[in-house]
């Protein structure tokens, strides 16, 4: 995962497989940077994600709550076609900017 902070926007380029096991380290890295930078916008870029199950949805929802707490917003970007149905099923589009 690559994390970039620029102009109050924290962008995380997620990659590989996101499941319950791998979500933990992703979450820890993200939360540490959210605490550190307190960004206005958190962008989760799913462009390089090869696999994701509902743990990825939990990850999005958890970061959404965190961003809300610090008065920021969450955006999800570059959702690959193979993740579209999962994203649609979860309804997370309604909470993201």
């Amino acid at each position: 995962m690559k994390i970039i902070y620029d102009k109050k926007i924290l962008t995380a380029e997620l990659s590989g497989e996101i499941d319950h096991h791998s979500a933990r380290s992703i979450r820890q890295a993200l939360d540490a940077d959210i605490e550190k930078y307190r960004p206005k916008v958190l962008v989760l870029d799913f462009g390089r994600v090869k696999f994701m199950d509902s743990s990825g949805i939990g990850l999005i929802m958890g970061r959404y709550r965190m961003m809300k707490l610090i008065g920021g917003t969450l955006r999800i970007e570059n959702v690959p076609e193979h993740l579209e149905r999962l994203i649609a099923l979860s309804g997370v589009r309604q909470i993201t900017a």
Partner: protein, 153 residues
């Protein structure tokens, strides 16, 4: 009457790292059916959800054995059973409700909803303090014959 073409059973420790192992193994097993990328991704996701449930809820991160059995039938039907001998589910309909989660926090409560929507059939049986068995089915439309399933013209 449909016959079993191939079958496999895996047993592994209830460690979260095995979520990846289980879905990858099942995916490799069904590959000879020549599924589409979407079909394969559906199966992998559903297996991942069921195994994750066993790790988190069945054994509550404790020691235990998870068993995955997969059968391929000659009509392209795949039946996958994921079993644990953990604490079991008290109220199955409630557990299967979307967004219901006993652990909250980082869990979306979508595991069963995903299994239900990505597979053609889902059945959950459970007994408190005995364990849970999730049975999922999916039909793969056959585009080519499975290897080792040669037919004379």
């Amino acid at each position: 009457m449909n016959n079993i073409v191939n079958e496999m059973t895996l047993s592994f420790s209830s460690r979260s790292m095995n979520e990846n192992f289980a879905r990858t193994a099942v995916s490799a097993f069904v590959l000879p059916l020549d599924p589409t990328i979407t079909e394969l991704s559906d199966i992998k996701t559903a297996v991942s959800e069921a195994v994750t449930n066993a790790v988190i809820h069945g054994y509550e991160y404790g020691e235990g054995i998870i068993t995955v059995n997969a059968k391929i039938f000659d009509n392209g039907r795949i039946v996958i059973k994921i079993k644990d001998k953990g604490k079991g589910i008290e109220n199955i309909p409630q557990a299967m409700e979307p967004l219901f989660s006993t652990v909250g926090g980082e869990r979306a409560g979508l595991g069963f909803a995903v299994m239900q929507s990505f597979m053609d059939k889902l059945k959950v049986t459970s007994k408190v303090n005995c364990g849970t068995c999730v049975t999922m089915e999916k039909y793969i439309i056959r585009r080519s014959r499975a290897s080792g399933d040669d037919e004379n013209p």
